[in-house]
Amino acid sequence: MLRTIFIIIFLSLIFVLFAGASFAAPPIKIGAIFSVSGPASFLGEPERNTAQMMVDEINKTGGVKGRKLELIVYDTQGDATKAVQAVNRLIKNDKVVAIIGDSTTGNSMAVIPVVEKAQVPIISCAAGIKITEPVKKWVFKTAQNDALAVMRIFEHMKEQKIKKIAIITVSDGFGSSGREQLKLKAGEFGIEIISDETYGPKDTDMTAQLTKIRGTAAQAIVCWGTNPGPAVVARNAKQLGIKIPLYMSHGVSSKRFIELAGEGAEDIILPSGRVIVADQLPDKDPQKKALLSYVNNYRKHFKVEGDHFGGHAWDAIMLIRDAIERGDATPMAIRDQLERTKNFAGIGGMFNYSGQDHAGLTKDAFVLVQVKKGDWKLIK
């Protein structure tokens, strides 16, 4: 008798469970490819963390249109071949409706033909201007163009009446793109580059280059690279007693740089997304709310400061969520809605996508910050 009751209870439980499962709508699958390991891991890791954090957050508050989001992440290790394989897998096996990533410009370019053929929208988290110029129907991006950062720096130099500068750039993708933009835009601002030095991504001593620059009439130095190179440049510049202003790129806008460069970081000026100075922004800044919530959330989950690289993934996830809210959870509808994004206050800036612009940002996406007493200070 007891046995029969148990069986009945058991069967009804199973029935309820299955019924529950079949009534809930299937999750919306979003794919992500990031360079979580490998040379670009300083980009991929915070991006992966942020994307996962945001998807969990969205699901906790009821998902999108009552459906949960499911994030499928593959690590491409900074390798273009792996990126292409991962995108193929996301589209064919996982059947995702949209993809975010990759972290680097090279990988993002490599996967474009694949997503175009399969007609799935992708939001890249890399900065290279080539990704969305010329505009490609299925490709968007959230990271600010290098050109915008360069223009910010040159604007500031113009105000300071700086006419002759020296540049020192790292010999990798990020550095050469920066070098190209610096040389291209200098003329527009009446600035002349009188010394053009480079260094290797793994170099540990840049005194030779800086000594050479010290011997010129340069009024300021611009260094373009990602950690740890610029930290070495900052330290060496201090060692050599170089007094002219030192500008850096947005590639070092995380606390890590100040830690590494130590006293050498003092007074360095750089363009950055607003995220590192979120609490110094005026209250009327439309991005402030999103920024503070991201910074606090990230600190809570990962015990470290969120940086603007993770912000690129934050923007990508939220843009997709908004697009699905407004339209439908199909690749085509998401693409169309993304293109209609207006005044989206994200981490990287105010996004306004259109048929002619899939990068969505202006140079206002950058603010200039200066290192003062070991912390970032917003330059008004």
Partner: protein, 294 residues
């Protein structure tokens, strides 16, 4: 005047980098002379020294000196373990096979360091302040003086050790002829292990004293290892003055090349020198043919 100032700066920068290369090269020479193999994991000991010190100092909150001593000890143990587990079981293998094993070990150590400490770059605080010192219009950091000082000490000690102590002489005997050495009662296995221990210790010491200047991360060992290798090749695999001069020469060429030609060729200069030496004088710039090799 300005040119002179530039030149002295290049020379000083070059010499201080060169001292580091020499110190790393030393580790190569000691193992090569005891075993006939080139230990390509030498750079990883340099990395271990720096990373362990960062770990003890920053994460465990130890004072600087205990952190350094502990790091050298652990790196030395790592060197001994490496010899026991990867080299000794294959004692009769050809050197080329052992060399490939050291490459494998270096990848393993690097990977383990990445998993344990992550991919971030870390800086050590300078041993005695960050105020640059002025010498003839050029500047160096106090840390450079530490590097010069410690390199000179290591050279003096190794000279004394290899020429005047029983163990040092026994190691040299193994280098000349391992079989004859074992016949007169020298335990060759212990000597080989000792050579790994000493070179791991020197390597990690090098990694520690440069970390305040160059910073450190799990992958600094590759390039530093190669530069140290160049130094020791120029010096003809000697664990004496040859390697020191080799390291200084390499550092100087790099700095002058970066200053007067182009910084893009900095690493290329090291490799061109390496190739030229290997082609033209495989016994090293300062070595006599079939020279004393300890």
């Amino acid at each position: 005047m300005d040119n002179f100032r530039q030149l002295t700066q290049y020379v000083l920068s070059g010499l201080s980098n060169g001292a580091i290369y020499a110190l790393i090269g030393f580790g190569f020479a000691i193992i090569h002379n005891a075993t006939g193999i080139i230990n390509f994991a030498q750079g990883e000991f340099v990395m271990l020294g720096g990373m362990l010190t960062v770990f003890f100092l920053v994460f465990c909150g130890f004072p600087l000196l205990p952190a350094i001593v502990l790091s050298i000890l652990i790196a030395t143990v790592a060197g001994i373990t490496f010899e026991r587990l990867a080299i000794r079981p294959l004692k009769d293998a050809k050197p080329i096979r052992l060399i490939i094993i050291t490459i494998g070990a270096s990848i393993f150590i690097r990977g383990a360091a990445m998993l344990i400490w992550g991919k971030d770059t870390h800086a050590l605080p300078a041993f005695s302040g960050n105020e640059p010192l002025y010498i003839a219009g050029a500047t160096i950091m106090p840390q450079h003086l530490w590097i010069f000082g410690i390199t000179i000490l290591v050279i003096i000690f190794s000279r004394l050790f290899f020429n005047h102590s029983i163990i040092g002489k026994a190691m040299r005997a193994c280098a000349y002829n391992a079989q004859a050495a074992s016949l007169v009662g020298i335990d060759v296995k212990i000597m080989v292990m000792l050579s790994f221990a000493i070179s791991a210790a020197i390597g990690s010491l090098a990694g520690i004293i440069i970390a305040p200047l160059t910073m450190t991360s799990f992958d600094v060992g590759i390039m530093l290892g190669i530069k140290g290798f160049c130094a020791v090749i120029i010096g003809g695999m000697s664990s004496g003055l040859g390697t020191v001069l080799g390291g200084l020469l390499l550092g100087l060429l790099e700095a002058l090349g970066a200053g007067f030609i182009s910084a893009s060729y900095k690493d290329a200069i090291a490799f061109i020198v390496l190739l030229l030496i290997l082609f033209l004088r495989p016994e090293g710039l300062f070595g006599k043919k079939e020279t004393e090799r300890v």
